[in-house]
Symmetry: C2
Subunit: 196 residues, 2 copies
Amino acid sequence: VSLKHGALGLIARRPASGYELLKRFQRLTGSVWPATQSQLYGELGRLTETRLLAVSEVGARGRREYSITEAGRAELVRWMMAPQDDPAPRSARLLRVILLDQLSLGQAHDYIEALQRSAAHEHARYEQIRDSHTAQDTEDEFLACLVLEYGLRLAKMQMDWATWVGEQLDEHPDESSTVGGMPMGSVIGEPGRGAP
Amino acid sequence: VSLKHGALGLIARRPASGYELLKRFQRLTGSVWPATQSQLYGELGRLTETRLLAVSEVGARGRREYSITEAGRAELVRWMMAPQDDPAPRSARLLRVILLDQLSLGQAHDYIEALQRSAAHEHARYEQIRDSHTAQDTEDEFLACLVLEYGLRLAKMQMDWATWVGEQLDEHPDESSTVGGMPMGSVIGEPGRGAP
DNA sequence: AGGGGCATGTAAATGGTTACATGATTAT
DNA sequence: ATAATCATGTAACCATTTACATGCCCCT
């Protein structure tokens, strides 16, 4: 339910055509809320039908420029101040951790190491982006910098956590009697019948 | 593409009916990969058609118990060792941060405060779950504890970050709710595979 | 003349949510 | 009896991805 509001928000800053909006999405929200061309054009149509956007200008080669309406602004602010109805986050990485007993101990270690390397890589990349900024750049891109800092802290946390998990695996090696390459051991024998 | 693998993984531990699987999902992976009843029954059907699962027993009231096949195990391990094809993570919360220039400074502060409170609340909840565990519980739910620790660290990070953002907003109050707004460039470029 | 960027759309498939619908068995 | 739990499924809808499809304008 949020591509809608991303589009609303970016157009609220400045009117845009579908094509421009796509570019803005890729540049600005790429790491936070990816969007494809198909999706954006569809959404623009729907937002116009529901009068949250309006076509403010028609230009060359059928270019339609959209602007936000009063109703659109109201909806945007409503959504921004109502953070409770967000979609539940999903993490394939953590799902794998929960299923780690289906791998051999060696494979589990490999996976955790891969997680750590990936977090370290991301952290380095963010640091590089941060350090390649001059003072006025930072002025310009204030909000994006807040998100960058989030990314940095998240990556750091993931690195530390992965290290810690590696240690835990070493101290808790009671899984994996594997036969013919097939993992058999279970760390969580089903229900503890204790926790929610 | 991961509900499929979650189901495979949980059934790999022990055969289950659709109903049992739903319960396991809620208990075990609820915070990491939510699944609904509809979805699970559909997925079980598809996994059986593609021979990754097999009906191992038919019981009372049409109960069908599913077990994993060799092909299923192979697919599960393949997926677990191939973390690169994960869906891109989306964060409505961070999207709101990027659009924070559409709110007044006061509203922006309110939003950040709400984020902080929500993180603090989550952190407290996780601490409580952790502390309500005895030694053998922890033995039983080793993998779930790894994820719990992740949740704790994430919540802590979010609290600290939100505090820091609050300070930044105070030191950088040149935005306001009005039209036009400041130019917001991109700091973070393309994905690179972000946050679980 | 051709390539690249601007500009728009549609179609098919997958994944996920909500709601509806039904019936058997067990415990109180 | 009746409520809770066990057990299954369908239908409609929304979001997302991938691929296909078209055409104008500008520059070299």
